[in-house]
């Protein structure tokens, strides 16, 4: 039945439904109408009979009163002849007058009477006047009367129904014609859309219903939207295709079976496969991946995703074996492609050529652990190797290892006089020289490790050796260095080396080993260079070194606890002309609350690269003080380390802090100790020039104590010379000191510099300085150092 209905057209369905409804309405309406007609007709017939009986009784009354039965019979016959009455009887005193109607042809089918089922209706009426009974009239009415009316009614209803049916048929034809034609056009348009053709506009009949019009508009709009979306998709596709083709990474798209469906040009280049040839081939054939270390095929990430054995997005590294057999380091990432609710329909594999990156990583790794200049292991690598050796000692207590801290002597001279390039070349040469002198591997089979710790410092780790053997090897290295002559142009240099030797002890760490070896090396330098000193904790120099080392760890804590204070000492004009000014002094306050001299602090700061931090702190603290104490209008001299003035960023620090605290630059004088190591003389010159341009003064401190005094005096644009206190302290008693101070003062005058003498501890010295013509003096005789923030008068 459902199939049959499904095959019926809409027109047939509508007609069938209409005819069915009409027939049902006719059948049920007919049955109901017939039943109602039978009831109503029966009642009407009965009423008619009663009414006829009443009328006939009235008609007969006068005749009966008059006793005129002839007239009465005539009236009865007349009544019957009028039609509709089957028979009439008049009964009086046992006498009956009866009149019957002749049989009549109803003029309609006999079945109709049988269908209606009406019988004659009889009624009687008594004729009584003034209480006297004149007789009884009885009559029967033919059902023909009602049947005739029903027949007539049926005919009219049939006519109306026929007319209504015709009108309905015409109306339905028109409606179906209009609507079905519109539907057919809609279907045609839909078919066109299904076949990918444009529906080319849907023209509906003029009287098409609004639903069809709305559907046509919706179809038009849907087509327009689909077309726009297709164009958008094509645009997107074009964009993505261009993007994929332009992208440097290889992009391969597979279907749900892991077969290649798309490759971008980068993928073709990387895999050495042509995209057309690779199409439909398994991904593990087109882009096989092997483990870099194991050299074995790895489970392909695409297949892992397809089999649900991997997260939806994975990234890994492997080697790609190309069609040509080459192996390319790649980083792969995969992502599944989901098609709505249909689940996984493919995977995107992105391969990134890692060749360069991995080479770069290898280089970076090498650089991380090797000195780029000499190619030797750097400080970090050496420390790591020492750590491993220390752990070995813990595991194998019988073994003994030694470490040598090698510091070249006079290397700075080469660097300063021949330039950095020459210095670098020399460092490479020395490194090769030392490598050539390394001993053979020890009993453990481990070769000695020579590394560059930084600058002109090297480290040598010797395995399975005792102190004496290590001493011999160290001495041999010194001899080799000393025996090497470096030539640069017309100049020849013979360098030396100081070596600190320390035996490794289990339980210590590399930093301790390095510090101890450094301390021993420092002692070797102090003791005349070109020698080896073994680390012994009882050495004073080593203790000092240890103290410096302690400052390294203590400095952060002192900063945090606010234990650094600024003091000042006045520097006064010797001859009374000019304004006095102050030198700012850094004073740490120890845990006992005592202010201590900062000697080892400054040495440690300089030695371990902490000086710039200290210098910045001092500068900021001083300028903050001047900002907060506008009554203090004096000039101040601040000591700077060689590392600080070599720092190109420090210029900006000075400028910004001066601006921030609104302190005129002319109130600042920077002092650089002549013994400080200036690593980058050009950077120092730029700094001094910048400071002088700002208006700050620049002073060469401790002039005369170092080897490079005159070189600095010449290279650095100083405004002031501060004569080293070592020449001033005994000026009143040592004639030679007088000569030196006098000479320096003369140089200063010749160069137009202001000269300052420090360590002026009595009046005799001051008098001598006045004789010599030194401009300013500083010392306990003139002013005891005091805290920068002087106690208030009321305190």
């Amino acid at each position: 039945m459902k199939r049959l209905v499904a095959r019926l057209s809409l027109r047939t369905r509508l007609v069938a439904a209409l005819v069915g409804v009409l027939l049902a309405a006719l059948v049920f309406g007919g049955i109901y109408s017939l039943d109602a007609a039978r009831k109503v007709g029966g009642q009407a017939l009965q009423q008619m009979a009663e009414r006829e009986a009443q009328v006939l009784a009235l008609t007969l009354t006068e005749a009966l009163i008059l006793g005129d039965y002839t007239t009465a019979r005539e009236l009865m016959q007349h009544s019957v002849q009028r039609g509709g009455i089957l028979w009439v009887r008049l009964k009086e005193n046992g006498q009956t007058i009866a009149v019957e109607a002749p049989a009549a042809n109803p003029g309609r089918p006999a079945w109709f009477a049988a269908l209606v089922g009406l019988g004659p209706a009889a009624a009687r009426q008594s004729v009584t006047v003034g209480g006297r009974h004149y007789g009884t009239v009885e009559l029967a009415v033919m059902p023909h009367v009602v049947e005739d009316r029903l027949w007539l009614l049926l005919g009219r209803i049939a006519g109306i129904a026929l007319l209504a049916g015709l009108l309905l048929a015409v109306l339905m034809y028109w409606i179906m014609r209009v609507n079905l034609q519109g539907l057919a056009r809609l279907a045609k348009a839909g078919k066109a859309m299904e076949e990918g053709r444009p529906p080319s506009g849907i023209r509906l009949p003029p009287a098409a219903p609004p639903e069809l019009t709305a559907a046509a508009h919706a179809l038009d709009a849907a087509h327009a939207r689909i077309r726009a979306q297709i164009e958008q998709i094509l645009t997107e596709k074009e964009r993505w295709q261009v993007t994929l083709e332009a992208i440097a990474d290889a992009v391969i798209v597979t279907d749900a079976d892991g077969c290649v469906r798309f490759m971008n040009p980068a993928a073709e280049r990387l895999t050495d496969w042509d995209a057309a040839q690779a199409r439909d081939r398994p991904i593990e054939v087109v882009a096989p991946l092997i483990d870099e270390a194991q050299r074995q095929p790895v489970p392909h990430p695409v297949l892992l995703v397809l089999h649900g054995d991997a997260p939806e997005k994975t990234m890994s590294q492997a080697l790609l074996r190309t069609a040509g057999g080459a192996e390319v380091a790649v980083a792969d990432s995969v992502a599944p492609i989901h098609a709505g609710d249909d689940g996984l329909c493919g995977v995107v594999l992105v391969l990134h050529d890692e060749t360069e990156r991995r080479a770069l990583l290898a280089e970076l790794r090498r650089l991380a652990f090797h000195d780029p200049l000499t190619g030797l292991p750097n400080r970090r690598a050496l420390e790591g190797r020492i750590e491993r050796a220390l752990r070995q000692l813990g595991d194998e207590p019988g073994r003994r290892h030694a470490f040598c801290y090698i510091d070249l002597d006079q290397f700075k001279l080469v660097n300063d006089t021949c330039g950095h390039a020459a210095g670098d070349e020399l460092l490479v040469t020395i490194g090769q020289l030392m490598l050539a002198r390394l001993p053979s591997p020890g009993v453990g089979g481990e070769s000695p490790v020579l590394g560059r710790l930084g600058g002109d410092e090297f480290g040598l780790l010797l395995f399975d050796t005792d102190s004496e053997t290590a001493l011999r090897h160290a001495t041999a290295i010194i001899d080799a260095i000393r025996g090497h002559t470096y030539r640069h142009g017309q100049r020849a240099f013979n360098l030396g080396a100081s070596i600190g030797l320390v035996l490794l002890s289990a339980g210590e760490d590399a930093s301790h080993i390095l510090a101890r070896a450094d301390a021993a090396c420092y002692l070797a330098k102090r003791r005349g260079r070109n020698r080896v000193e073994r680390w012994q904790p009882e050495h004073v120099a080593i203790q000092a070194q240890s103290e410096e080392m302690e400052w390294v760890g203590r400095m952060e804590r002192y900063f945090a606890e606010g234990r650094f204070e600024l003091w000042r000492q006045r520097i006064v004009p010797v001859n009374g002309s000019g304004e006095a000014y102050y030198e700012v002094l850094l004073r740490p306050r120890n845990e006992q609350g005592e202010v201590t001299p900062p000697l080892s602090l400054l040495t440690a700061a300089e030695r371990y690269g902490l000086a710039p931090t200290l210098d910045r702190w001092v500068l900021r603290r001083l300028l903050a003080h001047l900002r907060d104490h506008p009554e203090d209008t004096a000039r101040y001299a601040v000591n700077l380390s060689g590392q600080t003035i070599s720092d190109p960023l420090f210029v900006e620090v000075v400028r910004s802090v001066l601006d921030a605290c609104a302190v005129p630059a002319g109130r600042m004088l920077f002092e650089l100790t002549e013994t400080a190591v200036v690593h980058d003389i050009e950077a120092a010159q730029r700094f001094i020039a910048a400071m002088r341009k700002l208006g700050c003064g620049f002073c060469l401190d401790d002039f005369g104590s170092g080897l490079s005094s005159f070189a600095y005096l010449k290279g650095l644009d100083a405004s002031t010379l501060k004569i080293d206190g070592a020449f001033v302290r005994k000026l009143d008693t040592e004639p030679l000191d007088y000569v030196i101070v006098n000479a320096i003062a003369q140089i200063g005058r010749d160069m137009g510099l202001i000269t300052v003498a420090e360590f002026v501890e009595n009046a005799a010295i001051l008098e001598k300085l006045r004789e010599i013509g030194v401009d300013y003096a500083q010392g306990y005789h003139l002013h005891q150092p005091e805290p920068l923030v002087a106690p208030k008068p009321t305190d």
């Binding site: 009354t61 006068e62 009163i65 008059l66 006793g67 006047v129 003034g130 209480g131 006297r132």
Partner: protein
């Protein structure tokens, strides 16, 4: 001729009528109204009188007053309520008065509609005037005699009964009507008809209840007694009230004692009238 008529009546009477053989006594009523109204009025009265007197009476009327009078002339009626039997010829039939209709008497009238332009009898000259029938006393003889005596020639139209004549007048079929003043008044009241009297006669006794000579004296007496006592009898009075109301009469009318001498005025009229009596 009248003699022969009376002789024949006497000869035929004893043997030709069922009532004389013991059947119910036919009680004829002069047709002043339609047979149905007449039956509605008289059937209850006759039923009560029959019950009271023990004399079975049955109403017998003909289609017209003439025919009723003819029935009486033929001896078919044992009792008759009429005033048609006082002509010289019918007076010889032997019917005798046993009672009369209670009332002030009846007059003959010539009436016109109230809105009529006719104001004098002379205005009726040449016009149609309705009468009940040629037997009617106040409905024909008395008013027509007046017209004749006034020298007014009219076109007599006989309607059959008095109310039929009044109906012709009401519907403008005739210019005037000769009527019994009592019947006219009753009709006008019942039908709401406004009329105007052009002329009226002297009063005459109302219609008489007459008995056929063959009616036994005790039967006649029983009927007479019942009729005269009807108005005073509670049930009889009730019957009179009901029939009067049914015909919308102004008051119930009983019966009063009367004898043949009481109707000599009729007989005198007939002797002097200018209306041709012909066979009456």
């Amino acid at each position: 001729m009248p003699f022969l008529f009376a002789l024949a009546a006497l000869l035929l009477a004893p043997s030709s009528h069922a009532w004389q053989a013991g059947g119910p006594y036919p009680f004829g009523v002069l047709n002043h109204r339609s047979p149905t109204l007449t039956a509605e009025y008289w059937n209850p009265i006759l039923a009560w009188v029959s019950a009271r007197s023990g004399v079975p009476l049955t109403l017998k009327i003909a289609r017209t007053a003439n025919e009723t009078t003819d029935m009486a002339a033929r001896g078919e009626l044992a009792f008759v309520y009429t005033n048609h039997l006082f002509t010289p010829q019918r007076d010889r039939l032997g019917y005798s008065v046993i009672a009369r209709q209670e009332g002030e008497g009846i007059r003959g009238q010539i009436v016109v509609p109230a809105a009529s332009a006719v104001t004098r009898l002379e205005d009726l000259a040449g016009q149609a005037v309705a009468f009940a029938n040629r037997y009617g006393f106040t409905g024909y003889f008395v008013p027509y005699d007046a017209l004749l005596r006034a020298g007014v020639e009219v076109k007599p139209v006989f309607a059959g009964t008095q109310e039929a004549a009044m109906g012709l007048l009401r519907h403008g079929k005739v210019a005037a009507a000769g009527v019994n003043h009592q019947v006219m008044a009753d009709y006008a009241r019942r039908e709401g008809f406004a009329y105007r009297v052009l002329w009226q006669s002297q009063p005459y006794d109302d219609l008489a209840v007459m008995a056929h000579p063959a009616v036994p004296p005790q039967t006649r007496a029983a009927v007479r007694e019942a009729l005269l006592g009807m108005k005073t009898d509670p049930e009889g009075s009730k019957v009179l009230d009901e029939v009067a109301a049914r015909l919308k009469l102004p008051a119930p009318r009983g019966f009063a004692a009367a004898g043949d001498r009481d109707y000599d005025a009729y007989r005198s009229f007939f002797r002097a009238t200018r209306v041709p009596l012909e066979s009456q």
